[in-house]
Amino acid sequence: MRTVSYIQAVTEAMTEEMERDESVFIMGEDVAWNMMGDCTGLVEKFGTERVRNTPISEAGFVGAGAGAAMVGMRPIVHMLIAPFMYVAFDQIVSIISKSTYTYGGQARLPITLRAPMMYGVSNAAQHSDRPYATLMTIPGLKLIAPATPHDAKGMLKAAIRDDNPVISFEDRSLWGQSGEVPDDDLIVPLGRAAVRREGTDVTVVTVAGAITLGLAAAEQLAAEGVSVEVVDLRSIVPMDTETILDSVAKTGRLLIADPAHEMGSVASEISAIVAQHGFWSLQAPIARVTTPHTHMPFNADLEKLLLPNADKIVSEVRALME
């Protein structure tokens, strides 16, 4: 075991997969310049062919990733930040998500899009989106949001080896956090949630960076005698509904903490699933701590007001316990 940061874990995952398989390469804006700090050492090791800077042409290079994948490569496409996917939306939806299906299984699309999410740092509405819920509505895409260095490495490696398109939503609020990562080859299968803290009174499901808030809230509530089970969703599609339902069956209460906008969110989807399949376990209404249905303002205080935090979770859990 070693202790590494989330961002180091991401770099290790890419490095190891590029060493292992020559068909793996990374492309995106300024990847060879290591603009985000997550490609440290890659260009020195693999050169500019496999660590390929692209022009600012998201539709072009995302679609080129799809074409390269269709003829046998395994591209990692770096989106720089998640909202830049909007520029390439037709390629993601019409080509990447649909080609395997539409062509009756003839096309394989082993492509990984890395979509770091940068919010809560005063970049205003256009740069701050967490668009996984938008993409969740599209069949044919796997969506992950690893929340620990261990998963950042193991799930990204699993994504790169998967024969299907995977979009990895990396929460940049987690990039600096450290955690233990095993020394040997680490693969974390996609599609499974992780119980990060066991509890008996209320289930808190967290999405992406909300893990930090959920664990902090659980610690605070423990001091008040409330036992919180924290479930890190980590894979959005496929979603591990079994782990969530099992937890709710045990606790009888559910809160979902999701940094994205509330309407049509992952939190909404989990709410619907539990209302439909876990209704008789519930002792209280389902609670959601999300971002309200408005845009991210530039003003730091206003932005902070909107985003989930541990206090909001604590206060909602208290209400559930009444």
Partner: protein, 325 residues
């Protein structure tokens, strides 16, 4: 001049005839209610398709458009599985999941067709990127229409291919209309090939009704790509004989005289027949080629009609590829 021997001439004619008869048949079956869906036929564009496809090797890849019934045929696909696909049958190339606007046959290098105008350009560019990175000597060919030349993906793709010197040939089939709007009203230039200048690659416009002219221009571009000298843009001036979508829309945007002119004076099959005669073929030899194609069509219809429909559970298969890493 590239030399084209009799066998090649015969095969060119055969493929053009296969496309024409396939399309005549699909139109008939559509109007009779046996086929369904939005239906954009390749009729009139056979020379552009075949001249381009025959410049490729079987292991080279190609991406089509929403108007691409003819393109897999040009590349050498079997007719029966294409027709079965148009009937939504389980034996179709896409097992009934793609239909008219998404015919694909990966076994002959047809990497699919896309019904969002311009969306195939990055895909073809990416296939070329893969070939170059692996050191393969394959070429990627991208068909698109005049309408697609106004999409951002056209410009982004040509720029990527130029800066990375990719083995890709962009074939713009300029049939004069993007949906119902004339290219004259929608495109800033008379010849789309001039847009190649902006991307520092060769651009050439050829008569898209002349299969040999298309074959020569595209062969030159393919050779250049295979040599490692980078991408090219070839514009074929062509015409679609049918409406934008068969049997669906008004056709008030173009005159009956214009359509009649192209059908009588600029029919690529009639023009090529003349060339064949000049090259020493006799009428009977050409008629025999047509007759053999007609037999193939009859067999394809029979195959498609007899094929089973996909079972209900097929709606859920192929959402993902089976193997995971």
């Amino acid at each position: 001049m590239i030399t084209v021997d009799d066998d090649l001439l015969r095969e060119m004619y055969r493929r053009m005839s296969r496309i024409r008869k396939f399309e005549d048949t699909t139109k008939e079956l559509l109007l009779a209610g046996e086929l369904y869906g939005a239906f954009h036929t390749s009729t009139g564009q056979e020379a552009s398709i075949v001249g381009s496809c025959m410049a490729l090797r079987i292991d080279d890849s190609m991406v089509g458009t929403h108007r691409s019934h003819g393109h897999p045929i040009g590349k050498g696909a079997q007719l029966d599985r294409l027709l079965a696909e148009l009937m939504g049958k389980e034996t179709g190339v896409n097992q009934g999941k793609g239909g008219s606007m998404h015919l694909s046959d990966f076994s002959i290098g047809s990497l699919g067709e896309t019904s969002i105008v311009g969306s195939g350009l990055p895909v073809a560019t990416g296939a070329a990127l893969a070939y170059k990175m692996r050191g393969d000597d394959n070429v990627s060919l991208c068909f698109f229409g005049d309408g697609a030349s106004n999409q951002g993906t056209f410009h982004e793709s040509l720029n990527l291919a130029a800066i990375w010197k990719l083995p890709v040939v962009y074939v713009c089939e300029n049939n004069g209309y993007g949906e119902l709007t004339s290219a004259k009203d929608a495109i800033s230039v008379e010849d789309i090939s001039i847009r190649a200048v902006g991307y520092d690659m060769p651009g050439v416009t050829v008569d898209g009704q002349d299969v040999l002219a298309v074959f020569e221009a595209v062969s030159e571009a393919v050779d250049r790509a295979r040599r490692g000298d980078g991408p090219s843009l070839v514009e074929t001036k062509t015409y679609r004989f049918e409406n934008h979508a068969v049997g669906r829309l008004p056709e008030h945007y173009r005159s009956a005289e214009e359509v009649e002119y192209w059908r009588t004076e600029r029919d690529p099959l009639a023009l090529f027949r003349q060339v064949l005669i000049e090259r020493g073929f006799d009428e009977q030899q050409i008629d025999d080629l047509d007759a053999a194609v007609s037999e193939e069509i009859v067999a394809a219809i029979e195959f498609a009609r007899q094929s089973p429909a996909p079972p209900p559970e097929a709606a859920f298969t192929h959402l993902f590829s089976p193997s995971a890493g």
